[in-house]
Amino acid sequence: MSHETTVPETARADAVGTRDEATLRPVPFRGGGFVHRPLGPVAPIVFLAILALWEIGSRSGFISQIALPAPSEAFGALVDLATSGMLWKHVGASLYRLFVGWTLGSLLGIAVGLAVGLFSLARAGLLPLVSALFPVPKIALLPLFIIWFGIGEGSKVATILFGTFFPTVIATYAGVDNVDRNLIRMGQSFGLSWLSIVRKIIVPGAMPAILSGFRISASIAIVLLVAAEMIGAEFGIGAYILMAGALFALDQLIAGVALLSVLGLCISWLIGKAEKRLLSWRA
């Protein structure tokens, strides 16, 4: 097979049927690569190595005290917090705010998201508003929130609620949009009622998108914890971090940030569990 007819026909004919054992050679291997081999416990090793280097750097004075405290100091701050019993007060206060704000924000967000996904009018009317308000930084609105919701739990919960509402709306309506139209058509072809189609086809079909929206809204909620607890919070991880910042107690600051990180990991683990359970039908 060639572009020109330069290869003589005879050369071809010769080759047919003869197997020249001497020239048998393996097919060169050219696959491989571009796949991820699990490498065992690299992550913990890297993590520990970084901690160790950091600790050594701090102790030797290579990393200045005011730039970054040693991890051992941050750990010490965490232990102090735990032994003083304040840890639970802070974590408890934050969890309460996260829970209430996130639950309300998600419920409202799912409701509005379903409306936007199902009704043309809601989509045309609400979607531009949602898109316009989603990127508004919540810290910018804190002064307004103080006026609207006071300096008690109200404004803190509201900050988190606002932060989680918009991404949930967007995830939900995108999920509804992505439900296989053929499944909806199937429902209609069997004469299922509108409500049945929504309940049995659209909502479960949008569930993966809603759950992955939860992941995003949960991390936004945690990020907003600090902003929310700027106003009049005595307790809470965010308040603890702010206090540490104000006192320039970097060990406590790092400890607080680590707490938030762990909180984020826990929540995403929980959502992972929920996904496993609710979406076991996926591959």
Binding site: I66, I151, A233
Partner: protein, 311 residues
């Protein structure tokens, strides 16, 4: 030499502005650039990091923490409560007043606005509790990050009480929402409200520069006291000084609006930046007793007494 001076938008920062405008720093061969901050804590951090050379703020937990790490030092005093001049006020919301909070003693069990943990407001609240003989925990502190947030919370009755310098307290108590119930001077003796500070590197390595700065500043302080506290200058000169200050403070308002605000309730700034060691020590002890700063910090680490007179 070029130096950076950190300021907040408060009248108490006027002396360096006056000194710069009147050329007192130039006389000391200093080229000054002002850097504005929204809050005291970042200013302290910026001095520690070397971005700013000199600053003037209340003693806060952050400042002491940085001093403990050996990066900044108090080198002089500024605003101080003196008996003959009106000092900081204790004010309460109308609702709290109606509910019987008419004296500081009634603050027990009430909420009290502060900006951040370890701020001067925090200190004042606890000093009131100490003197009135109730537990510090019985005054509920509400950290609100910024002064305007505290004002809003007080006006709307979301917090019960606050303490603040007279030029802010004055306009507030004129309105119907806020009532004055006491003076801080009754609870803290010779309160050294703000201090002048610099980085340890400057204090130890560039003593001559620090001296020149303080010399220039002192002349600015003298003018400030004369113009706004003692009012011993001619009205023209006072107006000229107010105009200088207006370039940095209340600059978003027209001069005719800003003028009375700048003049109102100016508090005395210590001549020659004299420092009250006793008051500083009292504050330091309070911070330690609250566990807000490391145990090991001493006055030596916090204050460099070699530049100004102390008392």
């Amino acid at each position: 030499d070029k130096i950076n001076v950190g300021i907040l938008s408060l009248t108490s920062h006027s002396p360096s502005i006056i000194a710069e405008a009147k050329g007192y720093f130039t006389e000391q061969d200093l080229e000054v650039e002002f850097i504005s901050f929204q809050a005291a804590q970042p200013m302290a951090v910026a001095i520690a990091s070397g971005d700013v050379d000199f600053g003037m703020t209340a003693i806060s937990g952050g400042l002491i923490s940085l001093a403990d790490k050996g990066v900044i030092k108090i080198i002089g005093g500024a605003l101080q409560e003196t008996p003959e001049i009106e000092g900081q006020k204790i004010i309460v919301s109308k609702a709290a007043h109606d509910a019987g909070v008419t004296t500081p003693a009634a603050l027990k069990g009430r909420s009290f606005g502060i900006t951040t943990t370890g701020s001067s407001f925090h200190y004042m609240a606890h000093k009131i509790a100490d003197k009135e003989g109730f537990d510090r925990a019985e005054i509920h502190l509400k950290p609100l990050q910024k002064v305007p947030a505290v004002i809003a919370a007080l006006k709307s009755g979301q917090i019960d009480a606050w303490s603040i310098v007279p030029n802010i307290a004055g306009p507030l108590t004129k309105g119907p929402e806020v009532v004055e119930i006491g003076k801080i001077a009754d609870y803290i003796d010779n309160y050294q409200v703000t201090t002048v500070f610099t980085s340890t590197a400057n204090a130890e390595g560039k003593q001559e520069l620090v001296k020149r700065f303080l010399a220039g500043l002192s002349r600015g302080i003298a003018d400030y006291n004369a113009a706004l506290v003692d009012k011993s200058m001619s009205e023209e000169d006072i107006a000229a000084i107010v105009a200088m200050i207006h370039k940095y403070i209340y600059s978003d308002q027209p001069i005719d609006k800003a003028d009375p605000r700048i003049r109102a309730g100016a508090m005395r700034i210590n001549e020659n930046a004299v420092l009250s060691l006793a008051s500083v020590e009292d504050q330091l002890e309070w911070f330690k007793s609250e566990g807000l700063v490391p145990e090991g910090i001493t006055m030596d680490k916090l204050v460099d007494t070699s530049f100004v007179e102390t008392r």
